[in-house]
Amino acid sequence: AQSVTQLDSHVSVSEGTPVLLRCNYSSSYSPSLFWYVQHPNKGLQLLLKYTSAATLVKGINGFEAEFKKSETSFHLTKPSAHMSDAAEYFCVVSRPGGYQKVTFGTGTKLQVIP
């Protein structure tokens, strides 16, 4: 079984300040973890993925996430928010393979204030 919890439905930051979007997961196996971003009326775009290699994962647009097994967390961070970061972010846990099981978090909407 697997599940994922995004702890904040909305996050608001000022432009130029750090971003922290929180995600906790549970899984009975070693999962893959992802963060996807969705801009209004668009599909989901992959930001980054963890696949049991390095625990600190770097993604596109300056985002990174750290896999912490002891805390079952995979929080997304960025040192300095940009206006273009305003979007909805989804944390995803996956059991890969032929009968793939994918579980999405409910999403966090990031607002960036000028």
């Binding site: 992802f34 009326n41 775009q45 989804f90 032929g98 793939q100």
Partner: protein
Amino acid sequence: DVKVTQSSRYLVKRTGEKVFLECVQDMDHENMFWYRQDPGLGLRLIYFSYDVKMKEKGDIPEGYSVSREKKERFSLILESASTNQTSMYLCASSSPGDRISGELFFGEGSRLTVL
């Protein structure tokens, strides 16, 4: 550049109409998925297919059916559209051969309004 294409970005249909949502991928992926996205509910899996002519129900299959006659194409069918099916529909694909990550590739979405 890998691509998942949903043929209709915006549709407006009337209650009772039959609706087809088409999705095509060019990555030779075996797995294909249909999700529904509603505010506050995240993405919910309607159906997925792990091979041609194979399909499995997801979390919310009621009122929907699917067709996968060719590997690259996965269609979602609403036999008799209802207003509670007004939503954003997202198609995705992945490769079961990618046993490391299982990354999903998404289309741009189809926003359906049922009047």
